[in-house]
């Protein structure tokens, strides 16, 4: 593993650490899992923008697994995958657009939303009787906490953490 690479992986690990700490600060907790936090997705998103989508997806997946280990919310075998490693892994899509955060951040959170959406549909399909519009319920439910989270993430990156988008900054002494 080359030095540049190793340093990037470790930066990812520390971003996951910050994300986990921020995820403890809950602004609003939705009743069936999922919550509005103090921008806990920002470190992962920022990391994806700095190092590209591939590393971002890896960091997101690790963050998801960590969430699963720390605060499991398990109701279905497929839901475990969809709500944790996959949902958070898709946050890494934020890195697809280079430094264009107004495309990247919504893309990452949309990825996470779609994964939770599918998980919600599966949940309804396996627990609720037929005849419910699972897609709409799941969309409203997951949107209810991801939309505020999107706004928080955009504001945090735009006004606070913009300086870290370029890779060479942040690690120097100029901070």
């Amino acid at each position: 593993m080359r030095r540049q690479n190793l340093s990037a992986f470790i930066e990812g690990a520390l971003m996951i650490g910050i994300a986990t700490i921020l995820s403890f600060i809950k602004v609003f907790q939705a009743p069936y899992g999922g919550s509005v936090t103090l921008g806990s997705m920002v470190p992962i998103i920022l990391y994806s923008v700095r190092h590209g989508a591939a590393k971002g997806v890896l960091a997101g997946t690790v963050y998801g697994l960590l969430q699963l280990v720390i605060e499991p919310y398990i109701v279905h075998p497929a839901q475990v995958i969809l709500d944790y490693p996959l949902a958070f892994g898709l946050l890494g899509l934020a890195g697809l657009f280079g430094g264009r955060i107004y495309l990247g951040i919504p893309a990452g959170i949309l990825g996470r939303f779609l994964s939770h959406l599918l998980s919600g549909v599966i949940f309804f399909a396996s627990y609720a009787p037929e005849g419910m519009n699972a897609l709409v319920y799941s969309a409203i439910y997951n949107g209810s906490y991801l939309l505020p989270e999107l706004v928080i993430s955009l504001l945090a990156v735009r006004f606070v953490l913009y300086r870290f988008i370029r890779k060479n900054e942040g690690s120097g002494d100029s901070g």
Binding site: M1, R3, L6, S7, F9, I10, E11, G12, A13, L14, M15, I16, G17, I18, T20, I21, V27, P31, Y32, G33, L38, P43, L46, L58, A59, T61, V62, Y63, L65, L66, V69, I70, E71, P72, Y73, I74, V75, H76, P77, V80, S126, Y127, A128, P129, G131, M132, I152, A156, F159, V160, L161, F164, G170, S171, G175
Partner: protein, 265 residues
């Protein structure tokens, strides 16, 4: 070093605690799938007994595990109510415009049992296995997939470092907060917007120090000749023992029993 516990792990030295993490992960998955395959009440007797035996062996009381259901009460109730009212069939009770049917009651109780056993059964994994051990297990289980490009070692390495540094970063956050408070920062008053704004001077130093720490750590690892997962040895090897074999056999019997019960009754 100050220990900050994250996760739900309850330290112990029971048979269940000492099982290989891979065994526990695989059995938990099998258990989850099994709960969805069983389709009658008699079949559910088997996983119920399984949970009770595992809880006795682990030394973690069933009461404690059931307390873990609390955050999920809403979803359990919702599942029950939805099934109760929305399934058509023989009406046994009328509540205004809504009918409670025999089939609905049957289905509602069945779904709630499934959900409760799923939650309690899976919580046994995180209650008896520390996050670090779980990470080792995940790495080992993912290793065969590294051939098709799954970065198993990198994933586990990141997870371990993250777990190791969460307490450190928390301490750091605390320190920065105190430093800013000494300069007159106010974190605890005002409305939500004001309080969010007050966190700005917290986030920036936190990120800067994390980036710096990452650089230092990478250099330290390099100097000690870290070069990725290949041919890497470990101090604590994961080893399957007879206890793991017994656990797998017990799970096999559980599956066979609960699936066979539908033919017997």
């Amino acid at each position: 070093m100050r220990e900050i516990t994250i996760g739900q792990y309850i330290p112990g030295n029971s048979v269940i605690h000492r099982l290989d993490p891979r065994t526990k992960i695989l059995i938990t998955f099998a258990f989850m799938v099994l709960l969805f395959v069983i389709d009658d009440f008699t079949g559910y007797a088997f996983p119920a007994v399984f949970i009770i035996v595992a809880s006795l062996l682990s030394g973690i009381s069933l009461k404690y595990m059931i307390r873990g259901l609390r955050p999920l009460v809403v979803i359990i109730l919702l599942t029950f109510v939805l099934n109760l009212f929305m399934i058509k069939g023989r009406v046994i009770y009328e509540v205004g415009p809504l009918d409670i049917t025999y089939e609905g009651l049957h289905q509602g109780v069945f779904m709630v049992l499934r959900l409760v056993m799923l939650i309690v059964g899976t919580s046994l994994l995180t209650l008896t296995t520390s996050p670090i051990t779980l990470t080792d297990g995940i790495e080992s289980l993912l290793k065969p997939f590294s051939r098709v490009g799954v970065p198993a070692h990198e994933l586990a390495m990141m997870m371990t470092i993250a777990l190791r540094f969460i307490p450190t970063l928390m301490e750091e956050t605390d320190k920065i907060m105190k430093a800013q408070m000494a300069r007159g920062a106010d974190f605890s008053s005002g409305n939500i917007v004001k309080r969010a704004k007050s966190l700005v001077p917290l986030l920036v130093p936190l990120f800067i120090s994390a980036f710096r720490r990452a650089d230092d750590l990478a250099m330290a690892m390099e100097s000690r000749c870290y070069r990725g997962g290949e041919n890497r040895t470990r101090m604590k090897q994961l080893r399957m023992t007879y206890a793991d074999l017994v656990a797998f056999i017990a799970t096999g019997l559980l599956a066979a029993g609960s699936l066979a019960s539908r033919f017997i009754w």
